[in-house]
Symmetry: C2
Subunit: 67 residues, 2 copies
């Protein structure tokens, strides 16, 4: 279900420095939410996630309030 997957997305980016949607897709698969990059892109849009430059100079996804 979409809602569960999006909740998982939020948990994942909290725990892990996710650099790409590909990576996020794989981490979702591990948790049992197999989907494609297109879906990840849509989830990110709906969740209004941002790709921010982290402290070590690498891009990673984050919630707006944490950016």
């Amino acid at each position: 279900m979409k809602n569960d997957r999006q909740t998982a997305v939020l948990q994942i980016i909290e725990e892990t420095a996710v650099e790409t949607q590909e990576q996020l897709m794989q981490l979702l698969a591990v948790r049992g939410f197999a989907c494609t990059q297109a879906t990840v892109s849509r989830d990110i849009k709906e969740l209004r996630l941002l790709k921010v430059l982290s402290a070590n100079g690498v891009y990673k996804y984050a919630t707006a309030d944490k950016a």
Copy 2:
């Protein structure tokens, strides 16, 4: 000069809803800062700008504090 151009970038995204680096490149050109997309990408990285989902559902660049 890089600094002037980056200052212009900040002004531009303040005034205009810039959706892509291509668009930003063109707006910079108008102000006399001709450069390529590669340079715009680097400026955005250095300025730590974010591509956020605006109120009307369109992506646009913004500063971290405004996101």
